[in-house]
């Protein structure tokens, strides 16, 4: 909370200093009053940016830009989480879900959120799972209709900005999805070690974390 308050204050101060610069320009025909104010603004931006990076507290939009700064994980499972969503049709066939099916969620954010599912009570878990299952079904219908599973490309088509992580498109044609709706939503947690998996792809261990079954009409 404190970091959020400092970050919000830093952004508001930035805007206030900018307004001060604009105000100083009025009636400053000689151009002597504005540069000192601009200098204060510049020094402020530099100072807050340095505070963000040196304190290692991201004060977005004064970002610390800690891209891949840590060490690469030696094992995947708990941290970083290896949670995977699988949906199941009425015949019991399991399907992986195309990353675009979750829109407006971006898949990397949803993947990071999935472990929090365990923190919800049963009713909340079911509501969240039902929502995601419904999104998967909407995407399935879109693919069956010959469209893209997601809708982020509604304005820009192939020029749409890619996600932060590049995921493969797995639902590209109607044959990639079943004609019947998905009725079960499962979350598996996969455990694997990069070096071991490189040597042998079957070393991935999977456990069921959560399952939700949609109510079936009689």
């Amino acid at each position: 909370v404190l970091t959020s308050a400092i970050a919000a204050g830093a952004f508001l101060t930035f805007l206030a200093l900018g307004a001060w610069v604009v105000d100083g320009r009025r009636g400053d025909a000689s151009g002597t009053r504005t540069p000192p104010r601009v200098s204060v603004l510049i020094l402020y931006v530099v100072a807050v940016s340095l505070t963000s990076v040196l304190s290692r507290h991201d004060l977005w939009p004064f970002s610390a830009w800690s891209l891949m700064a840590g060490t690469a994980p030696e094992a995947v499972g708990e941290n970083p989480p290896g949670d995977v969503v699988i949906v199941v049709d009425a015949r019991g066939n399991e399907f992986e879900v195309d990353y675009r099916a979750w829109e407006p969620f971006t898949v990397e954010e949803l993947d990071t959120w999935l472990p929090h599912l365990a923190d919800l009570d049963d009713a909340s878990k079911a509501r969240a799972a039902a929502d995601l299952l419904a999104r998967a079904n909407v995407a399935r219908e879109r693919v069956l209709a010959g469209k893209s599973p997601g809708y982020f490309d509604r304005w820009l088509g192939p020029l749409t900005a890619p996600h932060h992580f590049l995921h493969p498109a797995i639902w590209t044609q109607p044959d990639d999805v079943p004609r019947e709706p998905f009725v079960v939503f499962r979350v598996y947690r996969e455990f694997w070690q990069p070096e071991a998996r490189r040597r042998d792809a079957t070393t991935v261990r999977r456990t069921l974390v959560y399952e939700y079954q949609a109510a079936r009409s009689r």
Binding site: V21, W65, A69, T112, W113, F152, A161, H164, P168
Partner: protein, 482 residues
């Protein structure tokens, strides 16, 4: 002897407040607006406000007040997203650009965190990290009209066009400098080791569900020497990129190197950093303009003292001519009036009262330090529009931006071609050209009928295309009073 403090202040002033041309800041403005639009049109931040509340239960504390994110108001968020898009279009099209930049910056500060707020308080690296800072910086700078490509009222180089661009460039450099700092502090020099690079490559490529490009990264992971090269060169590059701020000559190879760096990350690690496109703020548009349009084009290049003097002389002559109704002779340099008036022809320009200017007249209009000779194709009819004309070269299809009638120096009454003087006569353009010319003429006729402001605004945009055409201009040879 100067003190150290004085030296620092001088260096500071040289870096931030050295006079610069506006075109580079204008280029940055266009790039930032396009980049912001790209991201906003590629996501649906507003819809995240409408997802079930269960998804928001893991949102970090403080995020709501920090970004004013209160889920459950999708309609409001949709309106805010639409306002942000409209404001960015305003920045792009030069419609109240400073106000639009501020609105867009504030709206993006609110919208961008929606993407991550279900689990994280910070949206860095998702494409809109810099816009909440860059857009307000544009709003605080001098972005007054006319548009940056204006040739009629091009401002002189100014320190006001330098500091905002420098600050924007500094924020882009921080991506790399801060990134390597984080690596050194959290992982040390070992971050760049072959083993560590291999570990990252395996982690980000082995899961086929999470890697669009698996093969290049896995191939690289199996070559320790290349892994070491990748790790070390990434750290050296990130540490050294900030040199572009202090050594502009390095931009020509460091910026392409940075783009290559991101392309490599994309293919081998499957990581897309949308902010990388903001590297294009380092493009020297003034240099490109001079290369493409010719450094010798006085109307486009930086104004020299000689050109400034020529402009002042021209204004003085124009004033005398308008008052006296006398004539001057001049030589036409361009080919825009062909076939009516060939390049190199001597012409006579007679000063006439503004009220006598008619459609079809070939007129001369002072344009900074040169005269432009074109034919009047539209004369405003009502209200304020009566004080404006639209001209076009007989050899061109694009019209010129609207010009005040009061700025017209005079009418071309005769030209010396083939050993004799004769009237320019009416335009006789080829059918194809006259057909193509019809559309812009109709657009401007309609715009002038609606609003002079609209016609002038359209004219600013027209100049982008207009600059690519050759236009007729004359160098005054001698003055004759009558």
């Amino acid at each position: 002897m100067r003190t150290t403090g004085r030296r620092i202040v001088d260096a500071w002033n040289r870096f931030w407040f050295r006079p610069a041309e506006r075109i580079n800041l204008a280029g940055a403005r266009v790039l930032i607006a396009v980049h912001g639009l790209w991201m906003l049109l590629s996501r649906d931040y507003a819809a995240l406000s409408g997802v079930p509340k269960e998804f928001w239960q893991a949102a970090p504390p403080g995020v709501g007040w920090r970004y004013l994110i209160f889920p459950g108001h999708q309609t409001v968020e949709t309106l805010i997203q639409a306002a942000a898009i409209a404001a960015l279009v305003g920045v792009l099209l030069d419609v109240f650009p400073r106000a639009c930049a501020l609105i867009a910056g504030a709206a993006i500060y609110h919208l961008a965190p929606f993407e991550v707020a279900i689990w994280s308080p910070t949206a860095y690296g998702r494409g809109l990290t810099l816009e909440p800072l860059l857009l307000p910086i544009l709003a605080f700078s001098r972005l007054e009209r006319p548009a940056p490509w204006s040739w009629r009222r091009r401002p002189a180089p100014s320190w006001e066009f330098n500091w905002p661009l420098r600050l924007i460039e500094l924020l882009v450099c921080e991506i790399y400098l801060f990134s390597v700092y984080g690596k050194l502090v959290r992982s040390g020099l070992a971050w760049g080791s072959a083993e560590h690079m291999r570990q990252w490559l395996l982690y980000l490529n082995l899961d086929p569900r999470r890697a669009a490009f698996q093969a290049p990264g896995l191939w690289l992971a199996d070559h320790p020497a290349l892994c070491l090269l990748m790790g070390v060169s990434a750290m050296v590059f990130e540490l050294g990129f900030i040199v572009v701020l202090f050594r502009p000559s390095t931009r020509k190879w460091l910026v392409p190197t940075a783009l290559l760096f991101h392309a490599t990350i994309l293919v081998t690690l499957n990581i897309h950093v949308p902010e990388a496109w903001l590297l294009l703020v380092f493009i020297d548009w003034a240099w490109i303009r001079n290369r493409v349009l010719g450094a010798g084009d006085a109307a486009l290049g930086p104004e020299t003292p000689n050109e400034a003097a020529a402009g002042a002389r021209l204004q003085a002559i124009a004033d005398v001519l308008r008052r006296s109704g006398g004539e001057v002779e001049a030589t036409l340099e361009g080919r825009s009036m062909e076939p009516t008036i060939p390049a190199g022809a001597t012409i006579r320009i007679r000063g006439v009262p503004a009220a006598e200017i008619q459609v079809g007249d070939v007129v001369a209009i002072p344009m900074e330090h040169v005269l432009m000779v074109h034919r009047v194709v539209i004369r405003g009819r009502r209200g304020r529009a009566r004080g404006f004309v639209v001209t076009r070269g007989d050899g061109l299809w694009l019209v010129d931006p609207p010009a005040p009638v009061s700025e017209i120096l005079g009418v071309v009454t005769a030209m010396h071609v083939g050993g004799s003087w004769r009237s320019p006569g009416p335009a006789q353009p080829p059918l194809a050209q006259s057909s193509a010319a019809l559309v812009p003429a109709l657009v401007f006729r309609g715009a002038l009928a609606v609003s002079v402001g609209l016609a002038l605004w359209l004219g600013e945009w027209m100049k982008t295309a207009w600059l690519l055409q050759e236009y007729g201009r004359v160098g005054l040879r001698r003055r004759r009073t009558g």
